[in-house]
């Protein structure tokens, strides 16, 4: 029987129902589906998929083990390369990475590599954590990691495996970075997935110190000169929200996506007042931007009770930077896409509350520096939409706290840390950096890849230094 050119479908909550709850949207493969999907893998002689994976998971290898129903062997193989598989199986943009290169993708749909990764990871989590603590050498060196997002966690895991005593310093009260404060519960469950994966790192021996703001409570120099850390990896992410700079952005009810999502995800405002942090939503919400963060904010608004949620994006459908799956889910749930629309002003009442979003219609012109067709305003096309809340999701920049307190470490004109692409080495000896703080806002897996590369480079650096 020829193999199917379509992926096995993953069960999902009905869009109408899920838009009212924070339970996970996609429910994952069962064993039967997973094995059937694994059997679609051609086990190519020269596997193309692997070159699409920033952390170089042995994709054909772990899929082959699923075919044999050796699920423990499969997850062990994934974990050799990827310390957070249950997370990556959910939030990686596989369609732009491993799955893009799958031979089957040229003829139909690729093997569902992400879903299979999630399957073996979830199955392993369900069996309980059997992570063994690392036995450190008496003279094990200490490495500090600043920031506990994907880059930091991945670097910490790799360094611990290499025998380094790692302490992660996290500014918030909960570890995980964007995995905890940014990505919503319905895409990435916090207690069942994020916390469990982080606990597994702790079990290995990685220490995580929360409430520790680098640049305030301590400096990078102090870590190295006073606290005995031989090297430092900086992975502080893209933590400075951009606003548009238009009139009315300070009205009540205007949020950065960071604040909106942090209130909901980290502070659990969706459980107010059992959890004490409030959030304001109202009936009509406009989310400005077209990336994954914008989709997350829009879908979160629905779940918080908004009746009508708009995505306002200045380019067209094809230019939307969000994952196709997220756009599809958002549309299924009833998000209203106002494409080729750009906000020009936010209007409020005399009590300081946002009331309307004034937009102008756009058309696409010639391609710009990013290669995408440049949006141009259509004169005289302004109109207003009634809104109770506006969420600005147009991107984030680098938080300057660490850079401004670390002399000798260069930054570029955007404020990102200058670091070697292959090693993460900064201009300051012993200090490495990776993830969004270097590249600007990107994806979980790219940050993890950077963390992994930096861990290898830190190992190399410390071994050389010791000699």
């Amino acid at each position: 029987m020829p193999i199917s050119l379509m992926k096995h479908k993953m069960p999902e909550q009905d869009p109408k129902i899920r838009a009212t709850n924070f339970e996970e949207v996609a429910m994952g493969y069962g064993e039967e589906d997973a094995v059937a999907e694994a059997n679609r893998c051609l086990n190519c002689k020269v596997p193309q998929c692997r070159k699409g994976c920033p952390v170089e998971v042995d994709i054909p290898g772990f899929i082959a083990k699923i075919k044999e129903k050796d699920f423990d062997g499969s997850i062990a193989l994934v974990k050799e390369a990827n310390s957070l598989p249950a997370i990556c199986g959910r939030v990686c943009p596989q369609e732009n990475q491993c799955e893009k290169y799958c031979v089957l993708a040229k003829r139909g749909e690729s093997v569902a590599i992400g879903r299979l990764e999630r399957f073996v990871a979830d199955r392993s989590l369900a069996q309980g954590d059997h992570t063994q603590p690392i036995v450190y050498a008496a003279d094990a060196q200490k490495v500090a990691v600043i920031g506990s997002g994907p880059a930091g966690l991945s670097a910490a895991g790799e360094l611990a495996k290499k025998g380094y005593k790692v302490t992660i310093f996290e500014a918030l009260h909960t570890a995980g970075g964007v995995l905890s404060y940014g990505i919503p519960e319905f895409r990435l469950p916090k207690d069942d997935i994020v916390k469990v994966e982080i606990d597994s790192l702790k079990k290995m021996g990685v220490e995580i110190e929360v409430n520790a703001v680098a640049g305030k409570l301590f400096t990078v120099d102090e870590l190295m000169d006073e606290d005995g850390f031989s090297a430092v990896f900086i992975s502080t992410g893209a933590g400075l929200p951009h606003f548009m700079g238009i009139e009315g952005e300070n009205f009540n009810g205007v949020y950065s996506a960071n604040e909106f999502l942090t209130r909901c995800n980290l502070m659990k405002a969706y459980q107010f007042p059992t959890h004490a942090t409030p959030i304001h939503v109202g009936n009509n919400v406009a989310v400005v931007g077209g990336g994954n963060v914008a989709m997350d904010a829009a879908r979160t608004s629905l779940r918080l009770g908004a009746e009508h949620v708009y995505i306002v994006y200045r380019r067209g459908e094809e230019e939307l930077p969000a994952r196709r799956e997220e756009i599809h889910h958002a549309k299924e749930e009833g998000i209203d896409f106002k494409l080729l629309h750009n906000p020009v002003a936010i209007l409020g009442d005399d009590q300081g509350w946002v009331k309307k979003l004034r937009c102008i219609k756009m058309e696409l012109g010639e391609p710009d520096a990013s290669g995408r067709r440049r949006p141009i305003e259509i004169p005289g096309s302004e109109f207003e939409i009634d809104v109770d809340t506006v969420v600005i999701a147009i991107g984030q920049g680098p938080n300057p706290l660490v850079q401004s307190t670390t002399p000798g470490m260069d930054t570029n004109k955007r404020g990102n840390i200058v670091a070697d692409e292959e090693t993460g080495a900064t201009t300051k000896a012993g200090v490495f950096a990776g993830g969004d703080i270097v590249t600007g806002a990107a994806t979980v897996i790219l940050a993890m890849g950077a963390g992994k590369k930096a861990a290898a480079a830190i190992d190399e650096y410390l071994k050389t230094k010791k000699q």
Binding site: A171, K216, L217, N252, S256, M267, T274, G352, N399
Partner: protein
């Protein structure tokens, strides 16, 4: 966990805690703040550091029990702990020797964060004139502390029950009228008070600094919830402040933004403790934590 080493009632509903936090104490400077969370369901509450003792490894916070979160905090006792404490956050106060005569103004519990600033200014060799304002004598706090670090202290009460009858601006205007050469005014207190101080000094061009306490979440520049309009720019109070040039601050906008969650706060106060519904005692340690 951060242990409460000392709890003191300063006036009805106003409490002082000394918290065991050696690392924060080591780094704290006048003008900075901390964010705390009582428990896992708690809000992140920003509070200006009222004092710090590097030798003892403690920081002092002073707060008024106004909402659900501060009431929960106030219900804790000596020996108990809070879950999270992060800091020191924000920029420190600009303090250097030979600045001249500085007028330090504290209104209500705003006197508390003014205290380490006045002390720092005094230690640096400046002349410190302090003005402390309260509604009435009973709720005046930190008088002895302020006297110890100031060259002159003026107390004002709204009802005239102590000191000068009037507002802090009454005493400030008297100093200006007397011809005291004021190099700088630092004012911390309710927003309306800080706005009045700004308006009082504006005609004389006296450099005036206020410490703002807008709604914030993380305190590290990540959420932008604390943005305030300073002149033509939108600034984040948590990292660009909390102190700003009072003559540039959009106080009206700040007051509006502070009202964002009034409705929810009312709802929270009306929320009935589930333990109580079940006939159990209501308290800070009760499991529903929804007081």
């Amino acid at each position: 966990m951060f242990k409460i080493l000392k709890k003191q009632v300063l006036s009805p509903g106003v409490l002082l805690f000394d918290l065991e936090a050696p690392r924060i104490a080591k780094k704290a400077e006048p003008g900075q703040f901390v964010i705390l969370r009582v428990n896992d369901e708690g809000e992140r509450v920003p509070l200006t550091i009222a004092d710090f003792n590097r030798d003892k490894g403690t920081i002092t916070i002073i707060f008024q029990e106004v909402g659900a979160s501060t009431q929960l905090l106030g219900a804790l006792n000596e020996g108990e702990s809070i879950l999270d404490l992060v800091g020191p956050l924000g920029k420190k106060t600009h303090i250097e020797p030979d600045m001249g005569t500085i007028v330090c103004i504290g209104g209500g519990i705003g006197v508390a964060p003014v205290y380490p600033i006045a002390r720092g200014l005094k230690q640096a060799g400046n002349k410190v004139i302090s003005i402390m304002g309260a509604k009435s004598k009973e709720i005046l706090i930190f008088e002895d502390e302020m006297k110890a670090v100031s060259d002159e202290v003026y107390v004002t009460t709204d009802d005239g029950s102590y000191g000068i009858k009037g507002f802090v601006t009454t005493a400030l205007q008297q100093l200006i009228d007397k011809g005291v050469k004021i190099a700088e005014v630092i004012a911390i207190g309710p927003v309306v008070m800080m706005r009045s101080v700004a308006e009082a000094t504006r005609p004389y061009g006296i450099h005036t600094v206020v410490s703002l306490n807008p709604i914030m979440v993380d305190g590290t520049g990540m959420c932008g919830g604390c943005r305030v309009q300073i002149g033509n720019e939108s600034k984040f109070a948590c990292v660009d402040g909390p102190e700003f040039d009072a003559h540039q601050v959009d106080f009206k906008g700040l007051m509006m933004r502070q009202r964002t969650y009034k409705t929810q706060e009312a709802q929270e106060k009306d929320h009935v403790c589930r333990c109580e519904q079940q006939g159990l005692a209501k308290g800070a340690d009760c499991e529903c934590q929804s007081h």
